[in-house]
């Protein structure tokens, strides 16, 4: 029982990383209609960026821990920076291809991903080697029914849930949310209604990039190691989460992330390779039953 509970905690912890990353995937897909394979690399940039920004704040640290204010600054700078990079990537590489077949944008995204991984890798002061991630939060451990849960884990899980809710409200209730929905339905019509599509898409990418950075920080806080390749498999898994939940649907991305995180932890307990594959197996099974994901709706194409 205690072990199961413990696994559940780990599952939720991993799930919240997936969910935060999947939110970005899903928003970009919902609004621009492209699979941004480079999204996972935003996570890496966020985590790696945090590492270097924390280095700058080193003088403020006492015994390897930072004061709360410094931590806040570090995280803020890292997320804003990642969001900014995401916006830049969109403006340079994706925007000119917006009206081209979607496969073209996908290939470009593969190129962008390759660039984002290999550029830092080639830089002499970064390179391919993994680095230990600084301790931003000193975790307190609680004991619940025999399972131990740390304050970091609680923060992560709550953070993911709160972000999801906030994002859901943002899209449903605010003006920019309404514009996002309009762009996702029909770009031309939205443009005729006076919506600045470029701006809406930039904002979407900013939010997606910032969330990826947050999820990168979360991930690195519990698995304290950062390297340039970390984005690719995390990206794949959260992409699977987004599809599982019904890509384009914010709550679906969240649900998919947690399902996948929990399933993966339990499966890994059996065999680590199986743990990796289980997500894909669940994905295929779910798509065969619900072809548009758990929350997705199948629409009949108008002829």
């Amino acid at each position: 029982m205690a072990t199961i509970l413990q696994y559940l905690v780990y599952g939720l912890q991993l799930g919240s990383v997936y969910a935060l990353l999947a939110l970005g995937y899903t928003m970009v897909y919902g609004i621009v209609g492209m699979i941004n394979t480079a999204h996972g690399d935003f996570l890496m940039i966020g985590a790696l960026g945090t590492y270097f920004i924390a280095k700058l704040f080193d003088s403020m640290s006492i015994d390897g821990t930072y004061p709360m204010l410094a931590v806040g600054c570090i995280i803020l700078i890292a997320t804003v920076m990642t969001g900014g990079i995401a916006v830049g990537v969109e403006a340079i590489a994706y925007r000119p291809l917006r009206n081209k077949p979607r496969m073209i944008a996908l290939i470009t995204a593969v190129g962008v991903s390759m660039f984002l991984t290999n550029f830092p890798r080639a830089l002499p002061f970064i390179g391919p080697n993994p680095r230990p991630f600084p301790t931003l939060f000193t975790p307190k451990t609680f004991n619940v029914l025999g399972a131990s849960i740390t304050s970091t884990q609680i923060i992560m899980i709550v953070l993911a849930a709160v972000t999801m809710l906030a994002l859901d409200r943002l899209v449903a209730k605010t003006k920019i949310g309404a514009q996002m929905r309009a762009v996702s339905m029909d770009k031309d019509a939205a443009s005729l209604m006076g919506i600045n599509i470029d701006k809406v898409i930039s904002i979407t990418f900013f939010i997606g990039g910032a969330l990826a950075a947050v999820s990168g920080i979360c991930y690195a806080s519990v698995y304290p190691q950062v390297e340039v390749y970390m984005g690719s498999w995390l990206g794949n898994m959260s992409f699977v989460s987004a599809v599982l939940g019904g890509i384009g649907d914010i709550r679906g991305a969240m649900l998919g992330g947690f399902i996948l995180g929990i399933a993966q932890i339990f499966a890994t307990a059996i065999n680590s390779t199986f743990g990796y594959a289980v997500g894909f197996i669940i994905l295929i099974v779910i798509l065969l039953v619900k072809p548009a994901g758990i929350m997705g709706k199948v629409t009949i194409e108008k002829v």
Binding site: M103, V110, V112, S232, Y276, I284, L287
Partner: protein, 344 residues
């Protein structure tokens, strides 16, 4: 009715020109190899380029001509690679095969690899081809990753460590033979009722369906043929490198083929050849850049997609990979009375 006009190629040249060209090309390469102008390393790159042409052209059949999105093509390749390697290395214990039996065993291995890939292609194609566009893409991605995970788990074929000691039967002759043969067969297929059905599905699936084309059947067919070719290509790959490993066939490899396909230009066999060959060679040429190599490669790729998003070849075909309507009305080459076509 229209007959051959003066400008089209002489039928003799059209028929046998490519074959002659291939033979000349082969002889020249072999001579250069003898003279050691092409060293072993260049040769190996050429062999991989050939394998990549097979992979890209087969992917083109699904993505470029049938308009489906397969993004897990390396999965089929791995099935073929393991299938063929198991036959030559484990069933027939490669080092104890007598000289004379080596080639038949090798070909048998390739065939089995292709068949395994095609069967698995059908198994995943039948349920998932009813999914539309992006969802199909995602299932093929998932399929590729599951195959990789399964291969890692099967210990008798080396698990995650992979298989070693696969005989390197796939020399330049075989690779070239398979490339030429495949391109010829694919060209024929594309200019037949099958190819037209594929293209109809690509251009407008609803209209294709309404015109009596069994879209599911043709999609599965295109998928299986592509899987078969990818399987054979995988078998060749295994017998070039002598060593295979599940992790060499992950999403990164699939993404490579997508890149070759779209950078060369989808919907054109010429594009597949050009894309695969150029982009196989490019990283080798850039090797002097050391760690900056892939950075530059990525920039070139992005630039190609931005400034030439229809691909380098952009849907065009060289004459030998295309069949013109006028060639239907050519006189048969040897003897035979005029066949059907009466003047006016």
């Amino acid at each position: 009715m229209k007959t051959t006009n003066a400008k089209t190629m002489h039928p003799l040249l059209r028929k046998f020109g490519p074959l002659l060209g291939c033979i000349v090309f082969y002889v020249v390469i072999m001579l250069l190899r003898k003279a050691d102008i092409i060293n072993g390393y260049y040769m190996q790159v050429m062999l991989f380029a050939g394998v990549n042409v097979l992979m890209t052209a087969s992917l083109n059949l699904v993505n470029g001509f049938t308009g489906q999105f397969c993004i897990g093509h390396a999965g089929f390749m791995s099935l073929g690679a393991y299938g063929a390697a198991v036959i030559t290395t484990m069933v027939f214990k490669s080092n104890s095969i007598p000289e004379a039996a080596q080639i038949p065993v090798f070909l048998l291995g390739l065939l089995c690899g292709g068949i395994v890939a095609a069967i698995v292609g059908a198994l995943i194609g039948i349920p998932s081809l009813k999914l539309k566009g992006d969802y199909l893409a995602i299932v093929t991605l998932a399929f590729g990753e599951i195959v990789r995970a399964l291969l890692r788990l099967i210990q008798p074929i080396g698990g995650a460590r992979g298989m070693i000691g696969i005989p390197n039967y796939a020399n330049f002759f075989w690779i070239m033979l398979f490339v030429v043969l495949t391109l010829w067969l694919l060209r024929n297929l594309i200019y037949s009722s099958y190819g037209r059905a594929f293209i109809a599905i690509r251009d407008n699936e609803i209209a294709a369906d309404a015109m009596g084309i069994n879209t599911t059947k043709y999609k599965i067919m295109s998928f299986c043929i592509a899987a078969f070719i990818a399987g054979v290509a995988g078998g060749l790959y295994a017998h070039v490198l002598s060593f295979i490993q599940p992790d060499s066939f992950g999403f990164v490899k699939s993404a490579d083929y997508l890149v070759y396909l779209y950078a060369g230009g989808s919907g054109s066999l010429t594009g597949s050849v050009v894309g695969a060959v150029l982009l196989t060679i490019l990283p080798e040429v850039l090797r002097f850049l050391a760690t900056w190599r892939l950075v530059l490669y990525a920039i070139i790729l992005i630039a190609v997609m931005l400034y030439r998003s229809e691909g380098l070849i952009g849907g065009k075909e060289v004459p030998f990979l295309r069949i013109k309507r006028s060639s239907l009305y050519e006189q048969p080459l040897f003897g035979r009375k005029k066949n059907g076509l009466s003047e006016e």
